[in-house]
Amino acid sequence: MNLIAELAISLLLVTGGLFILVGSWGLAKLPSLMTRLHGPTKATTLGVGACLIASMIYFPVFGGTYSAHELLIALFLFLTAPVSANMIAKSHIHRQGRGIDANPSDHIIDGLASPGTGSDWATFMGADEGKPVTKQGQRDAASDL
């Protein structure tokens, strides 16, 4: 039983370490911010999750104690990683839309392409309840009905 648990812990630790390394390698290597977001948000979160599961197996088998702290940390990380990635991408898009910090590798120096539905992208629409705004900045009369 101990040998099986030890094998499982070792496998999870090696996998988690490799995923963490791959995520950070992507963060250092990839050319632009929008591509760099992929490494930490997916690979690193998965690697930390594997390390936490290894710890969750280790303590009941070898330490004799059990606590749900690791589960809490894993749940919190898996919930917050997409939210923080979304916030970073949103601030980056807004800064590039205003010509600040333009990066040629992102291919969105001139702003995003039109979504093709007559209204602008939702992130540029402001806080007025998500209703479509016309090009002149006036509220579309048809959408108020």
Binding site: N2, L3, E6, L7, I9, S10, L11, L13, V14, G16, G17, L18, I20, L21, G23, S24, W25, L27, A28, L33, R36, L37, G39, P40, T44, T45, G47, V48, C51, L52, A54, S55, Y58, F59, F62, G63, T65, S67, H69, E70, L72, I73, F76, L77, T80, A81, V83, S84, M87, I88, K90, S91, H92, H94, R95, R98, I100, D101, N103, G126
Partner: protein, 93 residues
């Protein structure tokens, strides 16, 4: 109590996480945009959580988990605050 596999795997994981922290520090130093640096700090926090969990396994103590939990929460709040500053504080919307 444990055999000889677990220390090797722990050492490998420690090496991987340390290299990752070095790569994150490289991106924090180089990062051309402010958003790059925010992303590097966010990843650095997640790697620090992984390092704390590995230390907990290596020393067979569960005293570090409160630190990891606090780091997860504070890291998330810090990332959101930095992004809000980039969105609202620097730019007149």
């Amino acid at each position: 109590m444990t055999g000889s596999i677990l220390p090797v795997a722990l050492g490998f994981a420690f090496i991987c996480v340390s290299l990752s922290i070095l790569l994150n520090l490289f991106r924090l130093w180089r990062g051309p945009l402010s958003a790059d640096r925010i992303l590097a700090v966010d990843t650095l926090t997640i790697n620090a959580i992984a390092m704390i969990v590995l230390f907990g396994i290596a020393y067979a103590t569960s005293a570090y988990f409160e630190a990891a939990l606090l780091l997860a929460m504070v890291g998330f709040v810090g990332t959101v605050a930095y992004c809000k500053f980039l969105l609202r504080g620097d730019i007149v919307e």
